[in-house]
Amino acid sequence: MTRSEPVAVSAPMAERAASSGIADYLLQVFAVADTEIRKLRHDPGELLTRALQPAIWLLLFGEVMAQVRGLNVGGGNYLDFIAPGILAQSVLFAAIFYGIAAIWERDLGVLHRYMVSPAPRTALVFGKALSSAVRGLVQASIVYALATLLGIHVTFGPLHVIGVVALIAVGSGLFSTFSLIIACLVKTRERFMGIGQVLTMPIFFASNAIYPIDIMPAWLRTISSLNPLTYEVDGLRALMLAGGTSKYGVAFDLAVLAAVFLALVGIAARLYPRLTE
């Protein structure tokens, strides 16, 4: 038994123990994410069907709204304006149903195997978030392809791309973890389906995704400024488009998303075990 040994460990040994602790933690995070990615590889059809939604938004909604002259989107054309919004939306819609998968895994019994394993709960939550990030990035590359086809002024500068990858990854992780928290609270698929729809719409519409915040009434502007999606879209708007601008600054956007994400991981890790009780 090592647990009652005295703690007089020499510094290098303690360091080695700490670094192997981190390596162990990362391996467990990777184990969860890799499993999800293998499942996607066995059944990639889902990714393709998910590409339909952003296509419909850009082609139908975007093309029509682009004819409305009354909407001041700050210089550029409307399709350019909503492309980052639709990108964020498609990632949001994919991530927000992560909770359903968690409930499904609980109903099957697969979740029990994660919960009896020695993996820390935060590692399980990070692993799921990481797999959501990978999905989000696949989704993003499809939206990029669509946007390029439609003649939207997308930029592929390396720093821009790196920034977009970071925003999409953190945004995906954030909303999938939020979804996981909802799942832990409502616990059944039926209730989740109901509430999932109710939550997605306000997150999407009370944000700057398809219209500028400036045209909103004051109360809605306040809600939007508390909505993480607003910061994701704001950052994307600066990085995705040639000559794009950000209202809050990309660094601030990323910092807000990262902080909210970490807070949500903490909450989810506490609630996750409740699903198998």
Binding site: D24, L27, Q28, D34, D107, G109, V110, H112, R113, S117
Partner: protein
């Protein structure tokens, strides 16, 4: 036998759900290397007891030591030492058998150089080597159960918990699971606690049996001891009826029935 240490020791373990007492003051000791059967009808509190011992469910009162660690104060250490085969489906159908084992090997932090050898050995032991690269959804119920046993023992746990391991299996698949469970104990010395509501299973597999009814542990002994207490020629069914005044088929809620049926569908 007295020299063999206890690997599971519960102390006045109870679990209440509101007014309902699912597990009522259970004090139970299981020795290293034993196959211990917890028998009782659906709703007797067997699964709740196992969920507490596997740290999935916090007890209302009392505690337990599993592999030397306290389930309330040291759940992380307990998890390192145990394996759990839930009644539900714990193998992922969209993954292959190999991928399922790889996931367990990583979650249990097996050293990289050992991983492949352990996975190969587990597949071999459960007669699944040839099916390793097929998706689990193409497996038969018996194969899925054997894979679930393989993935829950890949880290060579001190204690393996199995909740109704043969529900829904045909007799041939059931006999194969029994054979593998015994082999596991004989080769690795793993202590195994199974729950079952099938007397035949308890008789064929278990060194000792605990009779669980209405949340309480009613009696403990070897199958023979328990039968002898009732009279010559008695079966375990008779023992159960004698002790509880009920038959094993009675009891069980809508929820239990639903769960059992789902497990049967998954493994059948």
């Amino acid at each position: 036998m007295d020299a063999v240490p206890f690997v599971i020791e519960t102390r006045h373990l109870s679990k209440h759900f509101g007014d309902f007492v699912a597990v009522d003051d259970v004090s139970l000791s299981v020795r290293a290397g034993e196959i211990f059967g917890l028998i009782g009808p659906n709703g007797a509190g067997k699964s709740t007891l196992v969920k507490m011992l596997t740290t999935l469910l916090p007890p209302t009162s009392g505690t337990a030591l599993v592999a030397g660690f306290d389930i309330r104060r040291e759940p992380a250490q307990v998890r390192r030492k145990i394996g759990y085969v839930p009644q539900l489906l714990s193998a992922d159908g969209t993954l292959t058998g190999y991928e399922n084992l790889l996931l367990s090997a990583r979650l249990y932090l097996l050293a990289r150089r050992e991983r492949q050898a352990r996975i190969a050995a587990a597949l071999e032991m459960m007669d699944l080597t040839e099916a390793a690269d097929r998706q689990v959804q193409a497996y038969s119920g018996g194969m899925i159960r054997r894979l679930e046993i393989a993935q829950s023992m890949i880290h060579e746990p001190a204690v393996l918990f199995m909740d109704e391991p043969t529900v829904g299996l045909d007799p041939v698949a059931r006999d194969a699971v029994w054979k593998h469970v015994k082999e596991l104990r004989d080769r690795l010395g793993t202590t195994i606690l199974i729950t079952t509501h099938m007397m035949e299973e308890a008789d064929a597999l278990c060194d000792r049996i605990g009779l669980q009814h209405g949340g309480r542990l009613q009696d403990v002994g070897t199958p023979q001891e328990l039968k002898d207490r009732v009279g010559p020629g008695a079966t375990l069914d008779d023992v159960f009826a004698h002790i509880t005044g009920a038959t094993i088929d009675s009891g069980g809620s809508y929820h239990d029935t639903q769960r059992t049926r789902r497990s049967i569908r998954a493994h059948g």
